[in-house]
Amino acid sequence: MKDDSITLKSGGGKESRIEKSRPKSSSREAWKAGKSIFLLILAFVYLIPVIVLILTSFKTQIQIMEKGFGWFFMPTLMNYTNVLLEQGFLRYMTNSLIVGLVSTFVTLLIGGFASYALVRFNFFGKGTISFGTLLLRMIPPAVLVVPIYVLWSYFGLADTLLGLVIIYVGLNLPFTIWVLISFIADVPVELEEAAVVDGCGPWKIFFTVILPLIKPGLAAAAIFTFRIAWNEFILALVLTNRLTRTLPVATTIYLTDTGVEWGNITAMGTLVALPAIIFTFLAAKQLIAGLTAGAVKG
C-alpha cells in the first residue's frame, strides 16, 4: 500500500509539475506569507504572557485594577523596592544565587570526572553505573521529598543551604554526565595519548586536555544545572526555613499568604525569571544543544 501511492504518481507526476509551474510559484508565495503570519502569531502567543508579567510588575495596584489591560501607563519601581527591601527578598535572592552557583560548580566537576571515566576507561561496574545514572535521571522530586525531609532532618542538613546544595548536585549529576559523555567522546584520543607520552597522569590530562576542549558541553550543562537549582521548588519548600528559603519558595509563600497583590507577585516572578530570560537570549544555541542532547544525534 505504502509504495503504491508514490509509484502511482510517478508516471504523471513530472508532466503535471511542468504544467503547474506557473500558478505554483504564486501559490508558493501565498504559502510563504501564510507561514510568516503563523510564525508571527506563535511568537505573540509566547511573548505576550511574558510581557504581561513584566509590564504588570511595573504597575501600581490601581493601574492593575483598571478594567481591561492597560498597555501604556506610567511605570513605577514601587513593587520592586517593596519586594526587595521590605519583604526580605534580597536575602532569598542571595540564597538562590549561592545554592545555584555552588551546586553548579560541584556538579560539573564531579560529573566531569565520572563522564571521563565512563567514556575512556573500561572497568568493572561501568555498565551498571551508566545504566543506573540514566535511570536516576527520571526520579521525580516528589518521590524523594518525604525520605529526604526525614533524612536531612536526621543529619542536621534540613534548613541549611548545604543541604540544598547536596540534593541539587545529586539531582543534576545524571543529566550532566549524560551531556558531558557525548562531548568527551568527540575528543580525539590521540591528544590524550600524546599527553601520556609527555608523562601526564590521568588527572592532569583531564584538567589540561579534556576540560578546555569540552567547554561548549560544560556551558550547556552549567546552564541546565543552574536552572534546576534556581527553579526547583518542592524540595526547597520542605528543606528550608525563613532564613534559608530560595526565591521560588518565598514567592509561593507570599502568594498564598497575601492572595492577590499582583504588583508584588509579578515583580517577584520577574526576578525569578530574569536569569532564564537573560540566558535564553545569550545562549540559545547551547540551550538547544542541551535540550536535544541524547534525543537527537547530529
Binding site: 508514490i6 507526476g13 571515566a117 516528589a142 525520605p147 499582583w262 540559545a284 540551550l287
Partner: protein
C-alpha cells in the same frame, strides 16, 4: 573508547567515586529509606522514636484510598491530553517551519523561554492570566461576547486550564526536538520520493515521519515522564482544587506528608509514583539507548 589500556587499576574508580557517592546518598538511599518508611505510622513533626511499625497497613489503606486513585486518574488525564496536544502541535509547527523561514532563529529563542523559566513563574503567570477579575483571558473572552469565568475555581474548567498551561510551556520542547531531528534526517530518501513525484503530504507521512519515529518516541516518553513529575504549576494555580480536581499524584504526596502529616502513607504513595516512572523509564531507555550508543 580506543585507549582502554591507558590507565588501569584504581584510577577509574577514583574518577567515578564522587559522583557515585553523591548519587547513592541523594537518590538511592532516600528511595530505600522511603520503602522502609512505608511500613511505619509516623506523624510529621513528632520525634523519630514515636513512629510505630504497622506492617502493610499503609498499603492496605492506600488500596482503598479514593484520594490516591483520584490523583492517579488526574495525573493520567492531565498527561494524556497535554502530551497528545504537544505532540500534535509540535509536529505541525516543525513541519510548517522546517524550511528556512526568516525569523525562525528568533522564534526558537522566544520558544525556549517557557522551558527555562521556573515552573513556579509559569504557574503564577497563568494564574494571573486566568484570574477571574484581572486576567487577560477573561478580557479576551469578553471581547468575543462571552461571559467571564472563574476558570481556576470552577469544576470542569480548572483541569483544562492547567492542561492549557502545560501545552503552552512544553510544546516548544517537542518542536525543538522535532526540528533538530528533521534537520539531521538523511537527504536521499526525501529527494528520491520527491523525484518520484510524491506530494509534500506524502513525503511527510511516508518518508519523514517514519524516519523521525525514534525522535518522536523519545520526545513523547520524556514528556510523559516529565508530566508525571510536574507539580509546581498545579500547586500555584489551584493547589489541587477545586476539590481534588487538579490534584496530581506528586501533589497528593506533598499534601499527604505535609498537610495531613502522614509520612508513612505518603511514602506508600511515593512508591506508586516511582513504579509508574520506572516503567516509563525502562520503556524510554529501550528506545533511546540504541540511539545513544551508536556514536
Amino acid at each position: 573508547m580506543g585507549n582502554k589500556g591507558l590507565f588501569r587499576g584504581i584510577t577509574p574508580y577514583l574518577f567515578v567515586a564522587p559522583a557515585v557517592l553523591v548519587l547513592a546518598f541523594t537518590c538511592l538511599y532516600p528511595v530505600i529509606k522511603g520503602f522502609e518508611l512505608s511500613f511505619y505510622d509516623w506523624s510529621l513533626g513528632t520525634p523519630i522514636e514515636s513512629r510505630k511499625y504497622i506492617g502493610w497497613e499503609n498499603f492496605a489503606w492506600a488500596w482503598h484510598d479514593p484520594a490516591l486513585f483520584n490523583s492517579i486518574k488526574v495525573t493520567l488525564i492531565f498527561t494524556a491530553f497535554a502530551v497528545a496536544a504537544e505532540l500534535f502541535l509540535g509536529l505541525l509547527i516543525a513541519f510548517l517551519l522546517e524550511k528556512g523561514i526568516r525569523g525562525i532563529v528568533l522564534l526558537r529563542t522566544v520558544f525556549i523561554i517557557p522551558i527555562m523559566i521556573a515552573p513556579v513563574v509559569v504557574g503564577l503567570l497563568w494564574r494571573y492570566l486566568f484570574d477571574a477579575n484581572f486576567g487577560l483571558i477573561n478580557y479576551i473572552v469578553a471581547l468575543f461576547g462571552f461571559e467571564p469565568k472563574a476558570w481556576l475555581g470552577t469544576p470542569g474548567l480548572a483541569l483544562p486550564a492547567v492542561i492549557i498551561t502545560d501545552i503552552w510551556q512544553w510544546t516548544p520542547f517537542m518542536f525543538i526536538l522535532f526540528l533538530a531531528g528533521l534537520q539531521s534526517l538523511p537527504k536521499d530518501p526525501v529527494e528520491a520520493a520527491q523525484v518520484d513525484g510524491a506530494t509534500t503530504w506524502q513525503v511527510i507521512r511516508q518518508v519523514k515521519i517514519p524516519l523521525l519515529a525514534p525522535v518522536i518516541w523519545v520526545a513523547v516518553l520524556l514528556r510523559i515522564i516529565d508530566a508525571f513529575r510536574s507539580l509546581e504549576v498545579m500547586f500555584i494555580m489551584t493547589f489541587g482544587g477545586p476539590g481534588r480536581e487538579t490534584e496530581v499524584l506528586s501533589l497528593n504526596i506533598y499534601k499527604t506528608a505535609f498537610m495531613s502529616q502522614r509520612l508513612g502513607l505518603a511514602a506508600v504513595n511515593s512508591i506508586f509514583l516511582l513504579a509508574f516512572i520506572l516503567l516509563l523509564s525502562i520503556a524510554f531507555l529501550m528506545i533511546a539507548r540504541p540511539a545513544l550508543s551508536k556514536k
